[in-house]
Structures are given as C-alpha cells and as structure tokens.
Amino acid sequence: MPRNTRGNAGMPAALTCADVRAREWDFVEGTLPISERAAVQTHLDTCESCRKAMTLCRSAEDALLSASAHIPAAGDLRAGFYARLAAQQRPARRYGRPMIAFSALAAGVLAVALIRPAFHTNAVSPGPPGETAGRSFGFSPSVLAPTPSLDEAAATPHAFNHAFGLTEAQLDRLLASEDVKAITPRQHRKTFHRPVSAAVVAMVDRRAMFGRPADYNRSKEPAAPALKSANRADALDSAKRDTGPAKPITLAMGKETFAKDRAAGPDLRTEKTALIASLADRALKAQFQDNASAMPMDDGVSFDVVDQVRGFSNTTRIASDVEVQGEDRTVHIEADGNGY
C-alpha cells in the first residue's frame, strides 16, 4: 500500500467528509490501512456529523456481527430429509387408498361439486362437457381447459389421453422429466398432509387405471386434439410441437433464460398450474367413476401442492370434504393459496 501522498511528510492528509464516509465500513471493520485510519480519526475528532455517521455505521456493523448468535437452532434435519427422499423415490401410487388429487387456482375459493356415481354419463352434465369441469369445481373456465366427457374419452383408444391433452409419448416424457420430479411434496407442520404431487398422482393413477391403449404405437399415435382454452392450450402447445426427447410440458426456466422467464412468470405459472389442476381434476373424476365404493372419503384430506419449477415455489392448500346424501355426493373443495 503506497503511502498517502496527499499529505505533508509525517502528517496524515486532511480528508473531506466524503472521503471519510467512503471509508467508514473499512474503518469500522478495522481493515483500513493504518495511515488512512489515522487520517480518518483526525477528521472524526473535529467533525461532529461524520462522528455521528460513524457511530451509526458501527452499531449497524455490531448488530450484523452479533446476529448469527440469535439464529434459532436448526436441529438435526436428516430424518425429515430421508423421509422426503424416500417419498420422492417411491411411486406416487403407493401413497395409500384411492388417491384423490385436487388443485385449484383461485385463492380462497370454496367450490362445491355435485357428483353422482354415474358421473360419466352425459345426463349429469347439463351443459357442454367442456363447461362441466369449470363450473362444478369452481375453476375459472378461462384457465381450465374444456373437458371432454369421459364417455367421449372412452370412445376411441386414445381419447382418454386426449382428455388429458397429452399423448402417451408425451406422458412418458413428462413422467420422466425433471419438471415433474421438481414438483415435490412438501410436508406441512401440524396438519396432516399427504405428501402428494397432484400432477404425478393424476397421471400415475390414470396409467394405473387405464394403462396404455392396447394398440399403443408411438410412431402412429395421433396428435392430441387442439384445446380451446387459451392458457392451457398454450401450455400444451409446446408439448405437442415437441418431438425431441426432452421437455414435453417444460415451461422451462433454464438458468440462462431465467431473467426473461421471470418477467413472464405469472403466465408461466398459470399455464403450469392450469395443467396440474386439470390433470388432478380429471383424476378426481376418474376416481369417482371407477371407485364409487371408495366413497365417501370424508377424511378432510388436505394437501400442499407445491410447484417448484426452478424457483417458483407456490403453495396451494386444499382441503376436501365429502357429504353424502342418498345418491348424491357433495364434495367441498377449499383452496387457500396464493392464487399463483
């Protein structure tokens, strides 16, 4: 460090207030070279306002230095970690009896759905099939895709896939993709929460119930029909166009495009969530259709659906409750989240 050349020999140079302020952190930290330290000290001896500023600086530094002593103890987190690791590595199907996955979009939505055992018959749907999902579950139709009826879905080998808006190949890739793996369950304190990833459960359940179409042939698989709902259609567009091995539904936010994507964040999240929600929604219906004996499921299940796609961590807490009156089952779904 060169000697301070601005001063006369043996005398520290006079520093201006600005000089001193620029050095205050170094001074407080004790990292200032000795010669400069003396000059700062000289200035402080005569300058009231710099002295005050330095005092504040020092108390801030002291506060910061002492802060780490007040961090609440972490405890040993290994048990929780291994539990979650195991939960991730286990197929979602094993989470117990007929798994019902819900997702909802709007914060504070209380949705009430009337569901009959013969849910899949069109007689239950007063309007066009597409509107049924939106209305009965209180989801905004502008966000959720139109829902082909399950009758319609059963009519052709690939129709069920199309009801999900996915081809088999896309489902394969989705199940294998990091994107889905990234949707990790999150245990929530105190309340009983099943560690569930709605999308994974929906798709795995779907596979388990219906399997692949018998004549599944990847190269001949027809494309999924165009979906009319803007958001979800957009979300799925990339999936349909994608013929490569990676990212079927990846609303990808790679590191390099992070900033850009963050700007577009809300839309990406909406699309992603819309997809998850609609998959979960259909899994729910499929469950009711196929597992009428499993009803009622009045166990007040509540989930955290956490969408952790590279930096977006959103929690939607959903509680469900089922009322049975004769043939009718009323499902109350309460969603309390940040609405994405």
Partner: protein, 211 residues
Amino acid sequence: MNGERTVTTDDDSRLVARFLQGDASAFDALFLKYQDYVYNILYGIIGSAEEARDLTQDVFLQVYKSLGGFRQGARFATWLYRIAVNRGVDAARGSRRWRFLPLLDDPTVLGRAAPPEGEPEYAFERSMEKEAVQTVLMRCPVAGRDILVLRYYQGLSVEEIAETVGCTVAAAKVRLHRARQTFKENYIATYGVDASEGRQIGTADAAKHTR
C-alpha cells in the same frame, strides 16, 4: 478460517467421491457437516426458522440428485452455498410470505402481532433484542440480503463471497458495500436514534476495533 477450510475441502471431495460410488454414509456425513451452514444461509434470507428447515431439506434433495454433475476440483462448500443462496433467494422472491412483509413505515413492525399458535420458541425469538437484525434484514432487498448473510452469518471473506455468488471480487466488494449501506439505512429507519444512543466514537473506541 482459510486454513481450516483447506483441510476440510479435501475431506469433502473424498466424501463426494464416495457418495458417487454408492456409499450412502458419505452423503450422511456431508449432510451432518453442512446442515447448519445451509440452514443459516436460508434462515438469514427467509427469516423463518420453519421454512429454513424445510428449504434446507430441499437443498440437500437437490444436492443429492445433482451431485453427479458436481465438478470435481470445485469446492463442495462453495457449490453447496450457491445452491442454498439461489434456493433462498428464489423462495424469498416467490414466497407468499411477501404478503406478510411489513412495509417500512408499517407501525406494526415493532409491536408485532401475536406469534403463530403453538410455537413457543418462535415467541421467544420475537423478543426485540434477538429479532432486531433479522427484522431489518428482511426489509433489505433480497439481492443484498444474500451477501450480508454470507458475510455475517456465514463469516465468508469477500473472496469467498465472490466465488459463491459467481462474480468478481471487485463486484462482490461493491455489492457488499451497497448491501451494508442499505442495511444501515433500514436499521436507522427502524431503530432511529436508539441505534446509536450511548455510544460515542472516541479514540478508545476506535482503538478497540483495530485488529
């Protein structure tokens, strides 16, 4: 601190190598060794012990999955801290807790409402003395908070901070300086004159801080 780390770095890469060869106990050792560090970073950035614990597990899950891509020769600790910082910053930005973050002039900041039910340790933390810094820290922009946490909670040098956040040493210095200034302003805004009361900068005081 530097000497200490040089020794452990070697240890770490051996543990990483062992884990990659399928030795689960090696990962356990890494977890045990670093969980507090990761947790401290996350706590500093997030400000909630509960969530920090949760995110610590997230970070290790991520590490568990991506350790294969860890470049041998890089320092494990740096790599880990970087993941933790990114995770914390992302969570702080995306978290719905944003809603509960008080504004600077919010009168409820100091007379904070009742602690969440059934969390006595939380209530304990709430006492002003202990909360002070974290409260102020939570008002600083996330971009500076991470630097302050690395510096003061983690005790990293400027060089280590630069390596962790992936910038030059000069840039780290600038960011640290800026973050401290912001912290100081928020600190004063929160605690006002009290912050400096009863303290005078004098020769004796200054000498005490000469290291």
